[in-house]
Symmetry: C2
Subunit: 503 residues, 2 copies
């Protein structure tokens, strides 16, 4: 038997049989060969048998591979995801026709974020509108698409069915594993104290905000005056709407905290870093009869330096802004006071009988796997952990934006941020907010209109309680959308220079 035939046979076996099996077979064949060493004819016969075996092996191996591929395909089908197809369709749907964006306005009159998904969507054409009105965190999608199976979840048809998640906890709808992951993540990042605190989950921090307002305003007296709710301008544009939508008798939006002068108890909302302008904030009213609610949605290392472990009575966080998983609608509150927690839980119970368990489960998995990555001694699957990756992206975008604004020759300006030492990344860093808070020259008056004339949709200052020379632009869009935005921002200068109509 020629060495070559034997090696071919051997290597074919290796493909589908264990090492032990191959060794055993080798033994049988070698013994046969030894007995035949004196007879040339028999040896040739065996050689030809081996050659025919080799041929059959090859067929067998191809069949085996085909079977493997087929069974893999079946498995994928069984799991029912057709992931690629679905992703493609999701992209198609999300991007749609860029031009159709102007038609399909949302019910509140604003337009959806065109750049709401990363990846290879249709390009940004010259005459299409760019929507940077919402803060859809498409920027982070690529990371998660490549981040591997550690971040995947699988849920069986019979799992997570009950209303209840934990009968031993006051927050009976909070999945115990989400409670654990949230506390782990805050310990890892060092951005909020959780020990001895109550964690309450909500359908996004939006529902939690309503739950807080309810918890702080629902007293025993049915005739009480509505409690004043204030926030220093520029404030998050959704606060007035959330507070006012049902014309509640419990609480009432009273606008800018800086001009608030009513007597009696009040609630002050403090967003830090602030949406829209990225500033680091504290309360401004500072009276004994006020309650302060800290919205810390953006207090994460990719947006700002973690300068201290926040330890306020009421703190709100959200999955959307921490990792970019906006579609899950998961937020959490960290609370010192048991009675506030109890009332918030009651609000969630009455208005939505808890919070989606699928979303909670996925959030717990993703936040937990982030912690695993940082805490494990073995090297990461990805070259970068999420917070380093996203911080690098934010720094890059802000560099580009600052460059474009500078080249604009003073048409727009940006807020200044100081450098602070970040306890998490152990280096000095500037705030790199999720939104650019652009201010146009006073004489240009309408920053939103100015951008809109160049087919960039963004949210004007008046929605944030300040003058319309300000405009908020999302920094979290898809890469090509962001680049197109920079191009148009640069073109504004040209436009004004050439026809002088805005000057």
């Amino acid at each position: 038997m020629s060495n070559q035939s034997f090696l071919s046979l051997y290597s074919l076996f290796l493909g589908e049989a264990s090492f032990e099996l191959v060794s055993a077979l080798k033994l049988v064949i070698q013994s046969s060969m030894e007995s035949y060493e004196h007879g040339e004819t028999q040896f040739q016969q065996l050689q030809s048998i081996c050659a025919s075996v080799c041929e059959k092996m090859t067929d067998s191996k191809i069949a085996h591979r085909a079977q493997k591929i087929e069974s893999e395909r079946e498995r994928t089908e069984r799991w029912g995801i057709y992931r690629d197809k679905r992703l493609e369709r999701e992209r198609d749907v999300l991007h749609g026709e860029w031009n159709s964006l102007n038609r399909s306005s949302l019910s509140n009159g604003t337009l959806p974020a065109a750049g709401s998904s990363s990846g290879s969507g249709p390009g940004v054409s010259l005459d299409s509108s760019i929507n940077l009105d919402q803060g859809d965190p498409a920027l982070f999608e690529e990371y998660w698409r490549k981040a591997g199976e550690r971040f995947n979840v699988a849920i069986g048809g019979g799992e997570l069915m009950s209303y209840f998640s934990n009968l031993n906890s006051m927050c009976w709808f909070l999945l115990p594993e989400l409670d654990v992951s949230v506390r782990r993540l805050h310990r890892l990042i060092g951005n909020a104290a959780t020990e001895g605190r109550h964690v309450v989950v909500g359908t996004g921090s939006t529902q939690l905000l309503q739950a807080v307002l309810y918890a702080l305003s629902s007293g025993d007296s049915p005739d009480q005056e509505p409690l004043s709710v204030v926030c220093a301008a520029p404030y998050y544009s959704c606060y007035p709407e959330v507070t006012g939508i049902l014309r509640s008798g419990l609480y009432k939006w009273e606008g800018d905290a800086r001009s608030f002068d009513k007597d009696g108890p009040y609630i002050e909302l403090v967003t830090s870093p602030n949406n829209p302008d990225g500033s680091i904030r504290g309360p401004v009213v500072n009276r004994g009869d006020g309650k302060v609610v800290y919205d810390l949605a953006y207090y994460w290392p990719q947006y700002t330096a973690i300068t201290h472990q926040a330890d306020h009575d009421i703190m709100l966080f959200t999955f959307s802004k921490s990792t970019g998983h906006a579609g899950s609608r998961i937020g959490w509150a960290i609370l010192k006071d048991r009675e506030v927690a109890r009332k918030m839980i009651k609000f969630m119970e009455v208005t939505s009988i808890g919070v989606s368990k699928e979303a909670q489960f996925r959030a717990s998995k993703i936040l937990g796997a982030i912690c695993d990555g940082y805490e494990s001694l073995s090297p990461e699957v990805l070259p970068e952990s999420f917070f380093e990756y996203s911080k690098r992206l934010m720094i890059k975008r802000w560099g580009k934006l600052e460059e474009a604004v500078k080249l604009g020759g003073g048409i727009f300006s940006l807020p200044k941020f100081s450098r602070e030492y970040c306890l998490f990344s152990t280096e000095f860093t500037e705030t790199r907010p999720a939104f650019a808070w652009l201010k146009c020259k006073e004489e240009l008056k309408d920053a939103e209109g100015l951008l809109r004339a160049h087919k960039v949709l963004a949210r004007g200052g008046s929605k944030f309680g300040v003058d319309p020379t300000f405009v908020r632009v999302s920094m979290l869009s898809r890469e090509d959308v962001f680049d197109a935005f920079l191009e148009r921002l640069s073109a504004i200068k040209g436009g004004i220079m050439s026809n002088g109509s805005h000057a």
Copy 2:
């Protein structure tokens, strides 16, 4: 070589090699055997080699199996679910110590559903409380646990991340696949018209109810009187709480529709089949200036005959009651009027920026796979489809309950239901509601207290706007919990007869 050795070798190979491989090997060995047929010594040598190969094969096979088990374990770990472990813990947490139920009361003072999960939880001990206050649909869990992989979902770390689901739809947060599945299911069951209607998804039908109230009451005038919201008693106990929690200036709970006599516009809620009493209902106020909202949570074949395709202006349905997936918090509205849909969408946008995509995705998958099962020509994986299975269970439970009530000698009575022809199952059937609406003898006065004295927690009539001789008991608990309930129900008669204290 003995036949036995050869067969052992052959069968061992079969375990890990393909048929083609085994055939080829057989050929090699047989050829060797033929050449050796004249020499007894050599034959014995080969036989001993084969025996040793067999031994090695066995070791190899064990090693191979161990490797398979290990790789399966690793796969499970990668998917991060540790399904069995998690289920066990979920059960442990849910069932907890039965005795601890009395301690861990929910924030609203009611107790959680002890029987909220099926399967092998701790048994119902003699002195433990049975909670049948909520309608947690544990009854259906076993079906879904056994229903196979068609109903599983897998979600990658980078999927479903955007706020947006469909920019081409007014309901921008509704996953297109859920829209499709909902319409398919209604077509299959024939319980609601969907053609040309708007489908709006919500965080359970609870959020949708609030969205409806908002949509019907939010006018242009800030000084309008709150719109009256009514429902015929006995009404769903959550309606007053949901309507009243924020003391909205837009709408106001006005109680029993039958005694409603205020002038002006109003909203009437019609639950059919009704929660708590299972009756088939229509509106009772019937004035031109009223809007009717149909809560059809229980209009599914397991609970009642599908007598017609409902075709009202506003209809609400929920995943919780249709399939038992209460933890997902998915409900949907079917709406004729575009403006109502638009305002409801706005409500969802302002109060929760849409609805969890994970939950929507899972609901779309499960509802879709139910339709696939009914529509495919190939036999079902399970012997029964979900609606047949769950109907059979409901009939069985109601049979047992009616028997127990009859044996109780008139202490309790149940509502009577007429037999109707079900267009879906094409047979005559009675309503078998998700709740038993028990009435105790007038002189016993407090039905809830009577059950509580026998450690059965249920919801008394006063919460439903009627007298306390009524009590609502969940029919959807775990099997052992339901059986224990029947035992205690029977014991009530004995208790009263022996000490006469209630008579």
